[in-house]
Amino acid sequence: MHPRNRGKLKNPSGTGMVGNPICGDIMKIYIKVKEKNGKEILDDIKFETLGCASAIATSSMVTELAKGKTLAEAKKISKKDVADALEGLPPIKMHCSNLAEEALRDAIKDYESRSKK
């Protein structure tokens, strides 16, 4: 298992973390936002996940889907997109795709609140 985009970013533009030790899944997403052609682009994105295989797969997939997109496009990425890109998840694992979507949105929110300052 070698999920893509695993790791940290030095000086990330934003980070998002979801989950908790009680439920057993924790995901952290780091994003680097750069301006290209007047638009804000998710130039680089990395994730760290403590969780089951589905949690790792969904967090990796959400970073794959988001990389290189505009912020506006990235915000629209849904848990369904993640599950579909993985060609489906077992019903009991669907909640993992929730977490992935949340983690990404959290990271983007973090960037936006930082840049407002």
Partner: protein
């Protein structure tokens, strides 16, 4: 790919001799053991031979052995059968004492009795080493305590409970009690390695399963001490002295008998060899995998059990990656259970949720070889390194954020 089985506590392969003993009863001596003709008689002979073997092994009388479909049924029969029998004479709620880390079938049977208003149950917590304190059981006893159920060996962490001492304590107390307390133990994980003489243990009821001792699945037994007030839970025919209705699983019962016979011969030798391998496993893992811990007492432990927690790891992904490398184990992680709840056993030790989620159970058996342990440790190290590469510092980040 070579596969390495390290989940003997989940189930075991049927021993060659056991299979050989069972085969004629499928299609040659196939009769219903309750039939009066020659076909029934020869099938019945197989059943009674197995019964004698079990009685001898457990130091009981043949009529005190009841064949069931396995320990789950035996446990249900123990709890519900004793309560139901009592209810025939006395409609008041009874009190049951059991432990917080029993197997789910004992816990669920207890909860079911609570839900139906038949019993109030006290669940005793083990100490941090996974051992139940006799004094804690004694302190919980009330005038209306009817049944005490404590597992002999915990199935997840392998820790050994003081059954003999609890039994002795109950026996003494019963001398002065009008309503005698019935003492039950689930010995499923103990039969392979520990003394199960019912008089040494002072038990009234004892459950076991064939498929944990190199016998077939779908059959087990319940020892019922003569005079124990218990009523059957499965109604129907008069089999098993009206203790448990249903056509005998003749092949299974014959297999169970043979499994006990084989066990009696090889128990000591196998136990010693398995313990040695298991100790090597534990030593290597604790030494070579950073941030690892053993769950439960090292000394008061079943010779075949190792249960670890690894920081920064989740059990289901660990299990899947090990399985990809051919190594089969089990975990206490929520992600791997249908209910999404983490191991109640690990939590009962006072450990945190992440310890339950990161737990790995490796259980050895009589076919385990040294090379398999060596390979398994290597696979474990590699897998943990990779998974920690994925989880990074999220756990410590989570705590520092709070």
């Amino acid at each position: 790919m070579k596969r390495i089985y390290l989940d003997y506590a989940a189930t075991t392969p049927v021993d060659k001799e056991v299979l050989k003993e069972m085969l004629p009863y499928f299609s040659i001596k196939f009769g219903n053991a309750a039939s009066l003709h020659s076909f029934g008689i020869e099938a019945n002979k197989g059943v009674e031979k197995a019964r004698s073997i079990l009685a001898k092994y457990f130091n009981a009388q043949p009529e005190e052995i009841v064949f069931t479909s396995g320990a789950t049924e035996s446990n249900n029969l123990s709890l519900k059968g004793v309560v139901k029998q009592h209810q025939l004479k006395n409609k008041e709620k009874v009190h049951i004492i059991t432990t917080a880390f029993e197997h789910h079938c004992v816990l669920d049977a207890s909860k079911s009795l609570e839900r139906f208003g038949l019993a109030e149950v006290t669940y005793i917590l083990p100490d941090k080493d996974g051992i139940i304190n006799v004094k804690d059981i004694e302190k919980a006893i009330k005038p209306n305590t009817l049944l005490i159920s404590v597992m002999y060996v915990n199935n997840e962490i392998g820790t050994v409970q003081p059954i003999k001492e609890i039994g002795k304590m109950i026996k003494e107390l019963n001398k002065k009690r009008e309503t005698k307390i019935v003492f039950h133990t689930d010995a499923t994980q103990a039969v392979n390695y520990f003394d199960c003489d019912v008089n040494e243990l002072n038990v009234d009821l004892m459950s076991m399963s064939a498929h944990k001792i190199y016998g077939p699945k779908g059959v087990g037994a319940l020892y019922v001490r003569k005079g124990t007030p218990i009523i059957r839970v499965q109604d129907g025919g008069d089999q098993e002295n009206r203790r448990r209705a249903g056509t005998h699983n003749v092949t299974g019962i014959v297999g169970l008998g043979k499994a006990i016979e084989v066990l009696a011969k090889k128990k000591k030798k196998d136990s010693a060899r398995i313990q040695k391998l298991r100790d090597i496993l534990i030593k290597k893992v604790l030494k070579e995998v950073p941030n690892s811990r053993l769950n439960g007492s090292l000394t008061k432990r079943s010779p075949n059990n190792a249960n670890f927690s690894f920081k920064g790891i989740e059990g289901e992904s660990l299990l899947m990656m090990l399985d990809n490398m051919g190594v089969a184990c089990s975990t206490g992680s929520a992600c791997s259970s249908q209910s999404l709840e983490p191991s109640h056993v690990i939590l009962s030790l006072g450990l945190k949720h992440e310890d339950a989620h990161s737990s790995l159970r490796m259980t050895l058996g009589k076919y385990t070889k040294k090379e398999e342990i060596t390979f398994a440790v290597r696979a474990l190290k590699e897998t943990i390194k990779r998974l920690r590469g994925v989880s990074g510092d999220v756990l410590s980040d989570y705590y520092s954020k709070k």
